[in-house]
């Protein structure tokens, strides 16, 4: 590539910031995709020029419609194709005259069907697009969700932009993911569903998001990759710059190749994907729930490079179980350091040797030491790298005092967060609440606290296991990155 040529990432950046969009195959019939893609853009508040293209209609959703792409006045940056595969080659040929940057093919029924004709037409489209210098997204994909530009591929996705970028081989799963993560306070820079990847693929997108200033961390769902060697390089380079969280779907068909060497026969039983993720320092999620938890952790927490956790809140067995979960996740439930003991001694000498990590709040009752004070003491101690705070659901008091105590506790989390003295995560149990339960003060309060904490920038988890596993992986990511940077500098 010469100096004057634009890079793929530069071209993608232009493509993802379109000044005008044409929806080809736009329709007035509700719940057809020609209607939906128009309506998604309208509802998401797209501010650029929007051109429905349809040979039959004069207007679609109140926008003037054009019989073909070439009839649209002025240039079109971005084309969404909802027409059948057979019409796409002609559409592609009309693109250069409109200075189109790229085409998103929602159009499907191509190579994914496994039949020869589908594969042939997909290849024909891809090579024609390449020849004309067009970016091709898809086919068989939902395309682009870019809240900052008012571009969406579903109803009700959050409109507020954030710093999480997504690369999803499955558009449907991406929508689940966006909704779940946004319930936890996460917002997105852009998410791309790329389908069959006959044009741009996962490596192009990874390289792009690695350099994208709107994106602070990258979340991926992949089943397979087009070019494993290139993906290896792209993943290693991306994860060196910003966290890359990956969920891998589908098991590798390692196959039973006949092998001659010992090494090859052992390799057949090893997952090359596991090797890849470890070597690249990509953070692997076990399932969709964990992908959401990890996203929450990496989105809200700063760089943490130590595993000493202070576990606070709750009482009795719950506290003990919390500590177990932390240790199992590879965290260290460190003893109270001397500075903490000293401060407790000053306030409540009786508790000096009774209180410890994990902290059981019931020990404090009747003493002069308030839960909030103890949290502050721990937050200010250099003996802990971060705190996991369990909202204390159970106290013996009446509704008013019960909710006051919970409010005091959660307000204290925010004090610690805003003072910036110690990374803090919260857990609020979610035992499977239904609509009818929100009428009860207890459950409503807990739901409100959960939302309140998330909306104020605290990483909130439903379980200590989720919190501990995610933070442990976060610490490993940053430790590995430091080690790799130091090693690379040698």
């Amino acid at each position: 590539m010469t100096e004057t040529e634009t890079t793929m990432s530069e071209r993608l950046d232009l493509f993802f910031h379109p000044r005008s969009i044409a929806v080809v195959g736009a329709s007035n019939t509700p719940n057809t995709f020609g209607y939906l893609f128009m309506d998604y853009l309208v509802k998401a508040g797209y501010r650029g020029a929007l051109y429905p293209v349809n040979p039959r209609n004069g207007e679609v959703l109140g926008f003037k419609s054009y019989p073909s792409l070439k009839d649209v006045p002025g240039d079109v940056d971005y084309v969404i194709s909802c027409v059948a595969a057979g019409h796409v080659p002609e559409l592609i040929r009309q693109c250069p005259a409109k200075k189109v940057r790229g085409v998103h093919l929602f159009t499907a029924r191509m190579s994914e069907t496994g039949d020869e004709e589908g594969r042939r037409i997909e290849q024909e489209i891809a090579s024609e697009a390449r020849r004309l210098g067009l970016i091709l997204l898809g086919p068989n994909c939902m395309g682009l969700y870019h809240p900052g530009e008012g571009i969406s591929y579903a109803y009700g996705l959050p409109g507020k932009p954030g710093r999480v970028g997504g690369i999803f081989q499955s558009g449907g799963l991406s929508i689940n993911f966006i909704r779940y993560a946004s319930l936890r306070g996460v917002a997105f820079s852009k998410v791309v569903s790329y389908g069959n990847a006959s044009g741009i693929n996962e490596s192009d997108l990874l390289e792009y998001l690695a350099g994208d200033r709107e994106t602070g961390l990258i979340v991926m769902y992949i089943e397979g990759v087009r070019d494993g060697r290139r993906f290896f390089k792209a993943l290693r380079e991306a994860a060196a710059v910003k966290p890359v969280l990956v969920l891998k779907g589908g098991k590798t068909g390692a196959g039973n190749r006949s092998t001659f060497s010992h090494t090859a026969s052992i390799a057949g039983s090893t997952s090359a994907w596991e090797v890849l993720f470890r070597q690249c320092n990509a953070v692997q999620a076990a399932d969709l729930d964990e992908l959401v938890d990890l996203t929450v952790a990496f989105n809200f927490l700063p760089e943490i490079t130590g595993k000493r956790v202070g576990v606070i809140g709750g009482s009795g067995g719950k506290v003990v179980l919390s500590a177990d979960e932390c240790e199992q996740a590879g965290l260290e439930v460190a003893d109270f350091p001397e500075d903490v003991r000293g401060l407790i001694r000053e306030r409540e000498p009786r508790l000096e040797n009774w209180l410890g990590n994990p902290v059981d709040f019931s020990i404090l009752s009747g003493s002069g030491l308030m839960p909030g004070e103890l949290m502050q003491i721990m937050a200010r101690s250099s003996g802990f790298d971060f705190l996991i705070c369990n909202v204390t659901e159970e106290n013996p008091f009446d509704d008013i005092m019960w909710s006051q105590l919970i409010t005091m506790e959660t307000n204290e989390y925010l004090n610690i967060l805003s003072a910036g003295i110690k990374p803090i995560v919260a857990t609020v149990a979610n035992p499977g609440l239904g609509m009818s339960h929100t009428g009860e003060l207890r459950w409503r309060t807990l739901l409100e606290k959960r939302e309140f904490l998330a909306s104020h920038g605290i990483a909130v988890f439903s379980s200590v296991r989720g919190a501990a596993t995610s933070v442990s992986k976060l610490v490993n990511y940053f430790l590995n990155r430091k080690r790799m940077q130091a090693g690379g500098a040698k």
Binding site: G224, V225, G228, R229, F231, F232, T252, G255, T259, F260, S261, H262, T263, A264, I266, A267, S269, T270, A272, V275, L276, R278, Q279, R483, M484, G487, G488, K490
Partner: protein, 232 residues
């Protein structure tokens, strides 16, 4: 100046390189190997033994005998000329009995390396990600427990170190209950050189260095085999 050993074998259309040839390739890649020479007669075996220094190891060299030990084709720890001579005769007689139709090129002679920790270093190609290197401890740890660590080529030095520390048997590398520690830098050096070499030679399909032995303050490839891609 790169009319390499590997090029020579490739031009001969070879696909499987057994110990002697594989070691030639490895030496060219900068890997310390245990010098191994071929004897075609009893007398040659004895004189090579004297040249290399006792004790020595004799191994059958035949493209038709892959599992040399099981075939009775390996004799270890031969401490003098008579033992070498006898071992030569026994190997030949045994092979003749078990594999009467095997093509036999002779026996290989090398100095016995003993006492050090046995490791395995290997390479295979993943259909998606290409060449991968493997490191593990030799013997039952690799056979039974599959206690090995893989990394995709090309390696960084950190990758190489992670492969060593990443196996469960790592304490044995560090030195356990009085056993001598393995020089980890020497293993890293082997892995890095192999990574470079493999990166530059996509025709290499598979490789085993088994064992790579800790010897003195370094390591040495005591046996090896290499598989090349069939010529296109």
């Amino acid at each position: 100046m790169k009319a390499s050993v590997l090029e020579r074998f490739k031009s001969q259309g070879r696909s499987i390189l057994a110990e002697v040839e594989a070691k030639e390739v490895l030496r060219e890649a900068g890997i310390p190997v245990n010098e191994t020479l071929i004897a075609r007669t009893r007398e040659e075996a004895v004189s090579l033994g004297m040249k290399l220094g006792f004790p020595v190891v004799l191994k059958i060299v035949s493209p038709d005998v892959l599992h040399k030990t099981e075939a009775g084709g390996v004799r270890l720890n031969l401490s003098g000329p008579e033992q070498v001579g006898e071992a030569y005769e026994k190997i030949m007689a045994g092979i003749l009995e078990r594999y009467p139709r095997a093509r036999v090129e002779g026996v290989s002679v090398q100095r016995m390396v003993s006492g050090g920790t046995e490791m395995i270093v290997g390479m295979t190609k993943d259909p998606q990600f290409g060449p991968m290197l493997m490191f593990g401890l030799g013997g039952i740890l690799v056979e039974v427990l599959r206690d090995v660590c893989f990394r995709i080529v090309p390696l960084t030095e950190i990758d190489a170190r992670d492969m060593i520390t990443g196996i469960r048997g790592y304490p044995l590398i560090r030195g356990f209950r009085g056993s001598a520690p393995v020089n980890e830098d020497a293993v890293v050096d082997v892995l890095m050189k192999l990574s470079d070499f493999i990166d530059g030679h996509p025709e290499i399909e598979e490789m085993d260095i088994n064992p790579l032995m800790a010897a003195g303050n370094g390591v040495i490839a005591a046996d090896a085999r290499i598989v090349l891609a069939p010529k296109a």
